[in-house]
């Protein structure tokens, strides 16, 4: 088997005549963080459930760690950790007891389980509340307990459905840190989300879902090139001369657009920052800001769905 932990070919899911997931192909490599993006109802959760064998597929093949989730769901579920959207735990049990139940379902020997549960709780900083009932836990703590479950399970693949939805910024930051921790353990992480800037900061690759199909897939930069066009966007803030004229004269510049008072957005076919600085200074202007504009996933997302709507 190659280094892919998940291989999906032509995966299909029909609800009546509606195609919830429409023949998607997907590869996820060992040790990478992969983001599934898209509006609600685009088919992300359905795809995830089919990967776990929790819902029947209507066509296509899925291979998770060499197993078929339709025929061998137990083998898949033994090796894959799943954190559902708004995960629930048994409120009347403590954090430790909840993980203990999972450990028994996984058939981990009791003696080994005790150590693994404590280690897992420590890794998500819940060890000081291990014997508190989950009823007292905040949403962020429940999500972290879900991550602890995956750590305890020693899963090779972690599938997280909207892990950061409904969390405050601090809790989100902590959770993303823990997701990076999973990656350090060489766990492949598949996460779905619509919090784009957060996803951008952790994901190696992303796939953009639209109406059951994968519209775009690749790294954020690749996606930006596809949607926003190739080129290096640069933000220039300057005053005191004919700035647009000076900018257009720089070799390689394709487009100059005004972005407010004394600010311009320059798109060029290469990195033109030093040439722009030189030109403005020699034209007698004063340069106050020169910034390389990283393509943001949010921009890609918004632009893509604008165009998709126009096309429709």
């Amino acid at each position: 088997m190659s280094d892919n932990v998940i291989e999906v070919r032509g995966l299909l899911k029909l609800y009546g005549t509606q195609r919830a997931v429409n023949a998607i192909d997907l590869d996820i490599r060992r040790g990478e963080i992969f983001g599934l993006l898209g509006p609600n109802g685009a088919g992300k959760t359905t795809t995830i459930l089919m990967l776990l064998g929790l819902t029947e597929t209507s066509g296509g093949t899925v291979n998770v760690l060499g197993f078929d989730p339709v025929r061998q769901p137990l083998e898949v579920k033994r090796r894959v950790g799943y954190l559902p959207d708004a995960v629930g735990f048994y409120d009347h049990l403590t954090a430790r007891e909840n993980l203990g139940y999972t450990a028994r379902l996984l058939d981990i020997p009791r003696r080994e389980a005790t150590g693994r549960i404590m280690e897992a709780l420590k890794s998500v900083k819940l060890d000081d509340v291990a014997d508190k009932r989950v009823a007292t836990f905040s949403r962020g703590m429940r999500q972290r307990l879900g991550i602890a479950e995956i750590v305890m399970k020693k899963a090779e693949v972690a599938i997280l459905d909207e892990p950061t939805s409904g969390l405050d910024p601090h809790a989100t930051f902590e959770l993303l840190e823990m997701i990076r921790g999973l990656k350090r353990l060489n766990v492949a992480v598949l996460l779905s989300s619509h919090l784009l800037d957060r996803v951008q900061s952790v994901c190696d690759r992303v796939a953009l879902f639209n109406k059951g199909s994968i519209a775009l897939m690749g790294t954020v930069v690749e996606l930006a090139n596809q949607v926003l066009g190739a080129g290096h966007p640069v933000l220039v803030e300057a005053s005191g001369a004919d700035i647009p004229g000076a900018l257009r004269a720089v070799e390689g510049v394709q487009k100059v657009t005004e972005e407010g008072q004394g600010a311009w957005r320059v798109v060029a076919d290469r990195d033109v920052r030093s040439a722009v600085a030189q030109r403005i200074v020699s034209a007698g202007g004063s340069l106050t800001r020169l910034a390389d504009l990283q393509p943001s996933l949010e921009e890609v997302y918004t632009r893509y769905f604008q165009e998709a709507r126009h096309a429709a």
């Binding site: 029909l14 609800y15 009546g16 959760t45 359905t46 459930l49 776990l52 929790l54 819902t55 029947e56 597929t57 209507s58 066509g59 078929d68 339709v70 025929r71 061998q72 769901p73 137990l74 083998e75 579920k77 033994r78 894959v80 950790g81 799943y82 954190l83 559902p84 959207d85 708004a86 995960v87 629930g88 735990f89 048994y90 409120d91 009347h92 139940y101 999972t102 028994r104 379902l105 996984l106 058939d107 879900g146 479950e149």
Partner: protein
């Protein structure tokens, strides 16, 4: 509830469907036994059981004629100051106990959003549902055994005579039938907990069915029977075989209710004098000594169809719950 359509002909899945049954069973059993709800249900059962038992024990202490089945009378005799016996109060209370244990067993997992997390562990839905059912049934059994022992103990102390072996055997048989009866109602409650996402709706439906079988069904059956009875039979002038057929039809309808099946089995077991649960025709009386008790094995034979019916009903209802649960979507 959304159902999956357009399913592919299911490929054979691998692994035992009972993987993880043990942990689920143990968790459900422990949860039930430690829950506040179980305390309330037990108080309820004790209150309903203690009154008829106490009163009939008082009366039985004054019985002077020798009765070989004195102990069994604790269960069946209805005291003068009470309209019902211990046995008939159990007919009412056991379904309530079972419904209390089962009405939210599956839908509460949906509502707490624990279902998808538990099902993402290496376990089939079969094991989850069966584990929940067996956990509830074990709890029910523990409660009934405790109750039975209490009654037996109270009888020993207040009557001052030990029960004979055959009385203990009949008592144990009664216990087994009571557990099967509870199991049937537990399966019904779990079926509703699979069908409805709201726990209140499923509780209402279970209780509604319980009320229907307890109060309405016994009233409806005679009306139904009367509507198909030929006039001469209704006037009491029909041929014997016709009259018998009508009576058979009536008992068949009545036996659709688990309550009837339970009541008939218990009468057969605890009243050793019972020779038949249907109509008695003179031919059957030939050679019989009136009022003489049947041997234990003959009583068991007499009630065997009823017990089989109860267990079969429990299995059918559970199977229905199982099929619906298998087809249900996991996502909340």
């Amino acid at each position: 509830m959304p159902r999956e359509v357009g399913q592919r002909s299911a490929a054979r899945r691998e692994g035992s469907p009972f993987t993880g049954l043990g942990p689920v069973f143990m968790k459900e059993f422990a949860d039930h036994l430690s829950s506040a709800r179980m305390m309330v249900l037990m108080l309820f059962v004790l209150a309903f059981g203690a009154l008829p038992v106490g009163l009939s024990l008082q009366e039985l202490r004054n019985v002077t004629e020798s009765d070989p089945f004195l102990f069994l009378r604790i269960f069946t005799s209805s005291p003068q100051r009470m309209p019902f016996s211990f046995m008939s109060s159990l007919t009412l209370v056991i379904p309530l106990l079972a419904i209390g244990l089962g009405f939210d067993s599956v839908n509460s997992e949906f509502n707490r959003r624990t279902l998808s997390r538990v099902l993402s562990q290496p376990i089939y839905r079969d094991a989850l549902l069966l584990g929940k059912f067996l956990g509830g049934l074990a709890t029910l059994a523990v409660a009934l055994v405790a109750l039975w022992l209490i009654v037996l103990g109270a009888g020993l102390i207040l009557l001052g005579v030990p029960p004979r072996g055959v009385e203990v055997a009949r008592g144990l048989g009664f216990l087994a039938v009571a557990i099967a009866y509870g199991g049937a109602w537990l399966a019904i409650a779990m079926l509703f907990s699979v069908i409805f996402r709201s726990t209140a709706t499923s509780a209402l439906c279970s209780l509604g069915l319980w009320l229907f079988f307890t109060i309405l069904w016994p009233q409806i059956v005679p009306i139904l029977v009367l509507s198909v009875t030929p006039t001469d039979v209704a006037m009491g002038m029909g041929r014997l075989d016709q009259t018998l057929a009508v009576i058979e039809f009536q008992s068949m309808l009545e036996r659709l209710s688990p309550n009837t099946l339970f009541a008939e089995s218990v009468i057969g077991l605890l009243n050793p004098e019972t020779r038949t649960l249907g109509p008695m025709i003179p031919a059957q009386m030939r050679g019989a000594i009136m009022g003489a008790p049947l041997p234990f094995d003959q009583s068991v034979l007499l009630i065997w169809p009823q017990v089989t019916g109860l267990v079969a009903g429990m299995i059918v209802v559970f199977a229905a719950a199982y099929v619906i649960f298998q087809r249900e979507e996991v996502r909340a």
